[in-house]
Amino acid sequence: MSFSVTDPSRGTKWFAGVMVVAYAIITILPLVWIIATGFKSPADAIAYPPKVVFEPSLEGYVNLFTTRTRVTEDDFAALPPPATWYEKVVRDQGMVIAGPSRYGERFLNSVIIGFGSTVLCMILGTAAAYAFSRFRVPLKDDLLFFILSTRMMPPIAVAIPIFLMFRQIGLNDTHLGMILLYTAVNLSLSVWLLKGFIDEIPVEYEEAALIDGYTRFQAFYKVVLPQAATGIASTAIFCLIFAWNEYAFAVLLTSGTAQTAPPFIPTIIGVGGKDWPAVAAGATIFLVPVMVFTILLRKHLLRGITFGAVRK
């Protein structure tokens, strides 16, 4: 056996393996729990000890997307047989479908507001970060500090002034209002992160493009942007996760048209008893877009695309 400084020994490999598996279990278990609960019946969902093996049911998902009502036994018996599988699921609970729930709408609001603010934040953030990184901006350090200082208190601390302002100018409970709000909150983070990424891109690339006959703007989007893709992707994920999961502002500033999914999901509990499977189903579906977005951008999260192109 030769001794190596860089190769891990068998003991440390084993230890590292145990740590990774343990950490994975700790983080994945709540997810598995939520996803499993979504497919349980209400009785199984609150069973103690918890049921690991259970008979899967789509009741949670059906309840999530519908509103239901009880009818008298005579009326119930007089109903024609259920026409669809989900009608049957509801009938089995002794209820009938009264109409669709508002989950779909709320989910769509989350998509519009979450992705809208992320895109806006990336456009503004990249432009600002590029300017801070490349140009002589007067009071640059003070401006950067000022931008960062917007993060020095919890955003919710300014909820009341924002509520009053929004009400005054008619942004209350609008998609635009929420997009602007989340963009404003996220912008400081994205400017700082993106400035770091752009600082790392050697200015020679742009100079080479200028010499090669391109304008400053062409040099920016043909040479700098592809180089910054990694940074933009990871910053976008951070921004999306914040906007997607944000709860407090959404509760305060939205109620009807622009309500997002996070404030809506808890209201499911109140409709017809504690319907945990429906809540879990709502949470599961809510997870999907962020996961898909992250998986799509995963390639860009792996750094090292520029490795070796410039000798330092």
């Binding site: 080479a208 010499i211 520029t306």
Partner: protein
Amino acid sequence: MAEIVIRNLRKDFGAFNAVKSSSFTIADGEFFMLLGPSGCGKTTTLRMMAGLELPTSGEIYIDGEEVGMKPASQRDIAFVFQMFALYPHMNVGKNISYPLISQGMPRAEVKQKVAEVARILGIENILNRPVGGLSGGDRQRVALGRAIVRNPKAFFMDEPLGALDAEFREHMAEELRALHDRMGATTVYVTHDQLEAMQMGDKIVVMNHGVVEQFGVPQQIYDWPATRFVAEFIGSPPMNFLDFQGRVDAGAEKVMLGDSGFAVPRQQDGASGDLTLGVRPEHVRLSDAAPYRGEIVAAEYLGTTQIITLDTAFGRVKARTPSHEVVRVGDRTGLEFDARTLSIFDAGTGRALVSDANREALAHG
């Protein structure tokens, strides 16, 4: 193909004055070296010529046209960066073709041009490779390819060999010079390496602290430095300096250092006070009979020659002699200087006094 004229070029960065009123002319097809220590303003001068910096004042003419305030993209020049600056998200072929694409050249023509350039540089087999994994030499060739592919008016190179391994530099220097001779395009090359400048350049500008110290062909600059700085910067080991107090009259052919007299080229102007006699190490001969004495303090063996260090009454002197000459540290010996090669500097201004020998070389400055 273009002549480049620099007139009273100046660049300030805030309070810092990077380039002070430089003027020189680069003839069409010349391989022109901008030489100086780091921070002397040579790179800033080149970047102003390329359009990557805007001059504070002064004019730059490329091919007769004043371009000082024009953007780089409109100057029709190529630039080779020290770090190559190959676009990392493109492969070799794409990198080389990129300047052509900006001109809107048809795809077939682009392909043909890239192939031609690749053949000249011997990189046909790597056109489809990403630039990330290339060796330093290949990266250098790709950077050159990107420069020559569109036949620009001039090539500007900022220490292009600086990032290469020592053994490879020599080879690339030859390749570069051969490429220049083949293309015949005006080339401006920035370096801090005096050997590189002498080896490759048709003409050299030596800069220091933002000022052009001397301008001329390599031999003139080496033999007849205009200032003490140039004499010290160029040559390894540099010129020897013997500081003395005295006077030189116009027409004099001899200077007195204390009691020792040295024959010098006939002086045109007189000077007195603090002066410096300059002599290149290869123009110092050891001779037992010579009256000017020194003690040998060190000898470095360099193969065919050796560098002997001597302490003399007017300062330390290094002599380059054939290595078969046997010397012993501690011995005292006499020194003779080759009279035709000596320069005298005014210690106050650092400038060389004009003599019959260096008059022509100094006239360019």
